[in-house]
């Protein structure tokens, strides 16, 4: 109860500061619209179906991109954590790929993967991949060597050690990576849309900002992205609480 109270209080403070800024600054609506203007625009965007039309596409990209990126990242992270050879061979490419801005590569990736949903998902997955892979590798390596020796003394096979010891001990760290990754999935979806999509919240931002000069609508799209990020983050935390005991 107090947690909900605290969240509502902080939301109220945020809106108050925002409102105060518009009052004191006296900015025109296309620079910084007041909260109630954005709220009113949101109601119209929901009613006309435009928010859902774009939001549904972005949601699908986030879910698929995160699922694909997180799955490959966890598998890769386990391999990196378990084999020094694999780490030596792969990690330079992984780090280099991470250092190259995906934003710059996105238009090319869009062409390579056909410009449709697949291209969106690939770009989103690429952005999600790195923090989760690294967290998984670090987590796998943090396995208690004493417990590992105990399992070996009981004749545990390598897959058994991975399943019964390494993954469970890495889980808290993996979830750290998943928390970062899920928020990056939102960014990844928008970046992928900017590479050439026709619908999506990222596209809506561009239309509102550069086409219609409808800054309140752009804020509506941004708020929708923020809420999607919060909800998915909350889902990851929820799953984490169920899986990571202690």
């Amino acid at each position: 109860m107090t947690r909900i109270g605290a969240a509502l209080a902080s939301l109220a403070v945020f809106l108050a500061v925002w409102k105060a800024a518009t009052l004191i600054g006296g900015y025109p609506e296309y620079v910084l619209p007041a909260p109630e203007v954005v709220g009113e625009r949101a109601i119209r965007a929901i009613a006309s179906g435009v928010l859902w039309e774009h939001g549904a596409v972005t949601l699908l990209e986030i879910v698929l991109g995160f699922a694909a990126g997180a799955t490959t990242a966890v598998v890769t992270g386990i391999a990196l954590g378990k084999s020094v050879l694999i780490e030596r061979v792969l990690s330079p490419y992984i780090v280099a790929a991470q250092a190259v801005p995906v934003l710059a590569l996105a238009p090319l990736l869009d062409i390579w993967f056909g410009g449709g949903l697949l291209a969106r998902v690939v770009i989103c997955a690429l952005i999600v991949f790195f923090p989760i892979a690294i967290a998984t590798m670090v987590g796998i390596r943090s396995t208690d060597p004493l417990l590992d020796e105990m399992l070996r003394s009981l004749g545990a096979t390598t897959p058994q050690r991975t399943r019964l010891l390494e993954i469970p001990s890495a889980l808290p760290v993996i979830f750290g990576g998943l928390r970062v990754g899920v928020t990056l999935a939102v960014v990844g979806a928008v970046v992928s849309e900017w590479a050439g999509a026709g619908t999506g919240l990222g596209v809506l931002i561009n239309i509102a900002n550069q086409g219609l000069f409808d800054t309140p609508l752009m804020f509506v799209a941004l708020a929708a992205l923020a809420i999607i990020g919060l909800v998915f983050y909350g889902l990851v935390v929820f799953v984490e609480r169920r899986l990571v005991s202690q």
Partner: protein, 275 residues
């Protein structure tokens, strides 16, 4: 001494001219050098020696966790292989898996072997009963006392009913009173089953109270300095530690320990840090 023909459920262990070296940043470290030891099936052997003399290394050889650089190790005439079910190992620390309940920790060897659920649960329950942990079956390791955790670890080592039980100072972290209770329980468990037990300790009185034979090792690189037969009658009540014969044997073990140290011509302090 237990003669070979009352071997019960044990297997003999033969360690022959074994060398073990570990690579360390400061060069090779010789843990065991030309170390030989024969342990009769069904006997209770306790190894004693200064820190770093390779006692734990010796147990790891028998458990199949380590291969000797040269020489041979045989358990029941065959090479030991970790998880072959012939050897149970209890470590110095309980090494319980923190996210498993007590009963799931004890049943871990059965889970690894893919034992059917019904049989697994029955045996885990029996194993917990045997060490008096039925009441805490569902608790997590962090909720157990040090003594309970070690009992659980012992139950885990014994659940597969291994013919050879290796004890790497599992009771060393317990207070003296709890430890005496444990020693008594251990003796009872051994008298019931007559498996081969090889234990490691730092305590001269514990060694004499438990063992048929006390093996005294030299400082690193470890080898057997002396074998002392303990002819105290069984079952041994804890008061036996005060008997004149026990005192004589303890004095003999202590003498052998200091002889071993003198042989090396190295100060005792140097051995201390290198466990």
């Amino acid at each position: 001494m237990i003669p070979d023909d009352t071997t019960g459920n044990g297997l003999g262990v033969a360690i022959e001219a074994v060398d073990v070296r570990f690579a360390t940043p400061s060069g090779a470290l010789e843990a065991l050098a030309d170390c030989s030891l024969h342990v009769a099936a069904g006997s209770f052997t306790v190894i004693i020696g200064p820190n770093g003399c390779g006692k734990s290394t010796l147990l790891r050889l028998v458990a199949g966790l380590l291969e000797p650089g040269s020489g041979s190790v045989l358990v029941g005439g065959e090479l030991p292989r970790a998880g072959d079910g012939r050897v149970g190992l209890a470590f110095q620390q309980p090494r319980l898996v923190p996210w498993r309940s007590t009963v799931d920790n004890v049943a871990l060897p059965l889970d690894l072997a893919g034992t059917a659920v019904g049989e697994r649960n029955d045996r885990a329950r029996q194993a917990l009963e045997r060490v008096g942990l039925t009441a805490v079956a569902e608790l997590r390791p962090r909720e157990l006392s040090g003594g309970m955790a070690q009992r659980a670890a012992l139950a885990r080592a014994l659940i597969g009913d291994p013919p050879v039980l290796l004890l790497d100072e599992p009771f060393s972290a317990l207070d003296a009173l709890t430890r005496e209770t444990f020693d008594a329980e251990l003796q009872r468990l051994w008298l019931e089953q007559r498996r081969t037990v090889i234990g490691v300790t730092h305590s001269v009185s514990e060694a004499v109270a438990l063992a048929d034979r006390v093996i005294v090792m030299t400082p690193r690189p470890g080898r057997v300095a002396r074998v002392i037969e303990v002819d105290l009658p069984r079952p041994r009540p804890s008061e036996i530690a005060g008997s004149p014969r026990a005192a004589e044997l303890e004095a003999e073990v202590r003498a052998a320990l200091s002889e071993g140290r003198a042989l090396e011509l190295r100060p005792w302090a140097e051995q201390e840090g290198a466990a």
